[in-house]
């Protein structure tokens, strides 16, 4: 239970930050892809750099969590499904003006159409489970 509350708190920080920086704004995603406003591209780039530096420091520190347990860094498989999935995801990103994280912040903000994107995400995940039932090698994570 303590762990679940910790995840809830990390989620709140993530959602609050996404919303405050404008990642949940349709217009900022749209203008990032038309190259009129690169604010969100800068957010993502900064997050990658800070994340990479932080991970390097953790590894230099012995690669352990605060309890002293070795970090289980989740590496996802490299295959053609990264391309197929990436293509489908990119089209969905453009249509909805959101990604799986930011749409949750949209729903919290009270954006009604975000609720439809979120319902679509659950449905798309279910469709994936239907496809994965017969094509075992698509299971990429």
């Amino acid at each position: 239970m303590k762990k679940k509350i910790a995840f809830l708190c990390f989620g709140i920080i993530f959602g609050f930050t996404l919303s405050r920086v404008g990642a949940s704004e349709y217009d900022l995603i749209y203008t990032m892809f038309t190259a009129e406003n690169l604010k969100l591209a800068l957010v993502i780039l900064t997050a990658i750099i800070i994340g990479a530096v932080g991970m390097r420091l953790l590894i230099l520190n012995g690669g352990k969590d605060y309890k002293g347990k070795s970090l289980e860094i989740k590496k996802k498989p490299l295959n053609k499904y990264n391309v197929y999935g990436g293509i489908i995801f990119g089209i969905g990103w453009a249509i909805s003006g959101a990604c799986p994280g930011t749409v949750l912040a949209q729903v919290g903000e009270g954006k009604l159409l975000g609720l439809f994107t979120m319902a679509g995400l659950a449905l798309g995940t279910y469709i994936y489970a239907l496809i994965a039932e017969k094509n075992h090698n698509i299971v990429s994570d």
Partner: protein, 174 residues
């Protein structure tokens, strides 16, 4: 109270958002030994909607307990968005969606279908690619994983192509 105004009302500059989101990656490993990621949690929601599903993937160990950490993380993001909007003083219910609904005059049900379609593609695509903007683009690239770089390249490429097609053919070039 200028500082409160800057934190809770004004939109944050890109670097504050980038630093906090970036720090979540090592912080979640350090405190919870878990990779930052959102999209797998939609499996929890799918299973909430179809609790009796026999599909193997939705019955894997990941979803044994629907109310596991992924559920709480997703719930937290919604609450975080709620707190942000309440403190900045926006409307409780927002029915429009930026440039898209401002430029068009569709019946509302068509917007619902459009965003539902976008969501379906996001859900399907992130599962096939093995992650989304959080798990692949931020967590994966920060850990220098080649699969995340490849996926993110196609996220951005198809996002840019599709938005520009939407701009020309649907929004009339706004």
């Amino acid at each position: 109270m200028k500082i409160l105004q800057l934190i809770f009302v004004e939109p944050w500059p890109w670097w504050i958002g980038g630093i906090i989101i970036g720090l979540l990656v090592p912080a979640m490993y350090y405190f919870l030994n878990t990779a930052l990621g959102v999209s797998t949690g939609y499996g929890n929601i799918a299973k909430l909607i179809f609790p009796k599903t026999k599909l193997k993937w939705l019955n894997s160990d990941k979803f044994k307990d629907i109310f596991n950490w992924r559920f709480f993380f997703i719930l937290g993001i919604i609450i975080g968005g709620f707190i942000s909007a309440r403190l900045s003083g926006g409307r409780l219910l927002i029915i429009d969606m930026g440039i898209f609904t401002q430029s068009l005059n569709w019946p509302y049900i068509a917007y619902m279908g459009w965003f539902l379609l976008g969501g379906i593609l996001l859900g399907l695509g992130s599962r096939i690619a093995g992650g989304c903007t959080s798990g692949h683009s931020i967590h994966g690239i920060a850990n220098l994983h080649p699969s995340s770089m490849l996926s993110t390249f196609f996220f951005l490429l198809l996002g840019a192509i599709t938005v520009n097609l939407i701009r020309i053919f649907i929004l009339g070039g706004v």
